[in-house]
């Protein structure tokens, strides 16, 4: 329990630091937002008035505290370029990116665990070597190139979906989920390859442990030892890896959204960057970083709860 409390405290501290760094970067470096809003031909009086109105004349730490507390209340400020609050702007985009990331995670787990188990059981066999070769190649394919190849094969050659024909989830949930299969698969492919490789080597590592030999010598079948003993232990590095992969999946979704023409978080982030719409950029960045910190923190805590060696021994 002490560990969990400490972990949560560190997570909060990291979140605070992230928000501070983001605020620092986006208020110090880009220059005066009042000038940016009014354009270069604004009068000094006009700029001064707007600065007062936007609260830019207050000390730095007051502004940071103000921004932080309004963010905690769920108020992310107003977009410069759209007549909307950042919250409104992002609200209908979050489900898209979330659905895509979760679906990729499901693909990774569904494909990598059976393949990893199979490869470890038939270590050195022809299929194991084929899986290894395929893994190596897929790991080198960037997610967006996988997306282009999937568009070519499934979209253009087999006509299973219309490239760029995104269906909104409010209109047709089934159609939305069907369209999401292809981008989520592109994100999952390289990650699944890495996961298979990791699970296979973790299982093979466990196979050489004394407890595995004991289990064999007690007359257990290869299959029984693999599923009942080895998998349990190999799950631990797997969970850590999947937690870390979640970061890459979200980052990958920013790029893959562009391949499939999906108006998610990635699209709004990129347009906001090119329009220098900093409140939106800050909202997205802090939001994504918070998800990453939370997921990684939860994985660490889960790891504690699952592994009795750490639960009892480590203080």
């Amino acid at each position: 329990m002490k560990y969990i409390g400490k972990k949560i405290l560190t997570m909060l501290l990291t979140l605070l630091l992230v928000s501070f760094l983001v605020f620092l970067c986006f208020t110090v470096i880009p220059g005066d937002p009042a000038v940016a809003k009014l354009g270069t031909d604004a009068t000094p009086e006009g700029i001064e008035m707007l600065r007062e109105e936007m609260g830019l004349n207050r000390p730095f730490f007051v502004r940071y505290a103000d921004w932080l507390f309004s963010m905690l209340r769920g108020d992310l400020g107003r977009s410069y370029s759209y007549e909307k609050t950042v919250g409104e702007l992002l609200a209908d985009k979050i489900p898209i990116t979330a659905a895509m990331s979760l679906m990729s995670m499901v693909w990774i787990v569904l494909t990598s665990i059976p393949l990893g188990l199979y490869a470890a059981r038939h270590e050195g066999g022809a299929i194991d070597r084929a899986i290894y070769a395929l893994d190596q190649v897929l790991m080198a394919v960037p997610a967006f190139f996988a997306g282009i190849l999937i568009t070519l094969v499934f979209g253009i050659a087999f006509r299973l979906f219309v490239p760029g024909g995104y269906v909104s989830y409010n209109k047709d949930l089934g159609g939305f989920l069907y369209y999401m299969i292809f981008p989520s698969l592109s994100i999952a492919l390289p990650k699944a390859a890495m996961t298979v490789k990791l699970l296979r080597s973790a299982l093979i590592g466990e196979k050489k442990q004394d407890y595995a030999r004991t289990a064999y010598s007690r007359g257990n079948s290869t299959k029984g030892v693999l599923y009942r003993h080895l998998l349990k232990n190999a799950m631990l590095p797997l969970i850590t890896f999947l937690g870390m992969s979640f970061t890459d999946i979200m980052a990958g979704s920013i790029v893959v959204e562009q391949v499939f023409g999906i108006p998610g978080i990635g699209r709004i982030l990129l347009t906001s960057i090119s329009q220098r719409d900093y409140p939106v950029v800050m909202g997205v960045i802090v939001g994504l970083a918070s998800v990453v910190i939370l997921v990684n923190g939860l994985v660490d805590i889960l790891y504690q709860l699952l592994d009795p060696r750490i639960r009892i021994g480590g203080k």
Binding site: T14, G124, R129, M139, A140, T151, I156, A251, V255, V281
Partner: protein, 271 residues
């Protein structure tokens, strides 16, 4: 059970295949400095979407430019950006990791908290932050990605310094009167290479993938510079009319990354 020899044979295959792919790719890029089959910017109306032929092995793009030449030049840009990125990331990361790991104390606490906070960002997201502040362009991408790569190097190097600073040879060097700076970089640094070199190779691959991703998004290398990611985003518009345009720049990325990751695997097995 698989014999030790088969394992070794397979790993040597990795080393060989990795060396061949990486060497071939580097040679191909190096040739581009002295000889290019065509001018990479030369446009031609008749050659628009020309298919694969002996004179244009990869075909031609929407402006009738030779794709083979452009992949050659694009791979060079991608390689240069990746090298710059790893240079900045590994240089600053090693310095931060060495100082924090060697000295410890409050400096370590403060710097590592910042590094941990940066680590919470996926590197492409961190690079996007830097790009949104600096603006896009080749050199900005190198800085953006370089900064994004600092945390991973800093963490690896720090953990090594934490271990190695307790070694007897470090204590002996202290007794002999060596300064901290000399111990850190002359005595300890060479001993971290076993861990640092694989990290560099993985970092290089991640840099290639990140650069391609950023240029694909249109915020990395800007035209007229050719870059593999940039070419892919152009190619995507013409996926229906000229599918091979997308294949070759993508394959170049795959071969570059695959070669180095096989080489890294092979080297690790050979040790």
């Amino acid at each position: 059970m698989m014999g030790a020899e088969t394992v070794k044979k397979k790993m040597n295959f990795n080393l060989l295949a990795g060396a061949v792919l990486t060497g071939g790719m580097l040679l191909w890029i190096a040739v581009g400095f002295f000889y290019l089959p065509y001018d990479p910017e030369a446009m031609s109306l008749e050659l628009k979407f020309a298919g694969m032929s002996l004179s244009h092995p990869f075909g031609c793009d929407n402006y009738g430019r030779d794709i083979f030449t452009r992949v050659m030049v694009g791979a060079r840009t991608t390689l240069a950006v990746a090298l710059g990125t790893v240079g900045i990331g590994a240089g600053i990361g090693t310095l931060v990791g060495a100082v924090t790991g060697y000295f410890g104390g409050w400096l370590d606490e403060v710097l590592m908290r910042v590094i941990d906070a940066l680590f919470a960002f996926p590197s492409i997201l961190l690079a996007l932050v830097v790009i949104s502040l600096l603006g896009s362009g080749k050199y900005h991408v190198i800085w953006a990605l370089g900064i994004a790569f600092i945390p991973s190097f800093a963490r690896v190097v720090r953990s090594q310094y934490l271990l190695l600073r307790e070694m007897d040879y470090v204590k002996n060097a202290r007794i002999l009167g060596c300064g901290h700076f000399r111990i850190m970089f002359v005595h300890i640094l060479p001993n971290t290479l076993g861990v640092l070199v694989p990290t560099l190779m993985i970092g290089f691959n991640n840099a290639v993938l990140a650069e391609a991703g950023m240029s694909y998004l249109g915020i990395g290398v800007q035209p007229p510079d050719a870059s593999l990611g940039r070419m892919l985003s152009e190619a995507q518009t013409y996926l229906f009319t000229q599918p091979i345009y997308a294949i070759f720049p993508g394959l170049a990325i795959v071969v570059l990354v695959l070669g180095l990751s096989l080489l890294a695997d092979g080297l690790e097995a050979a040790r």
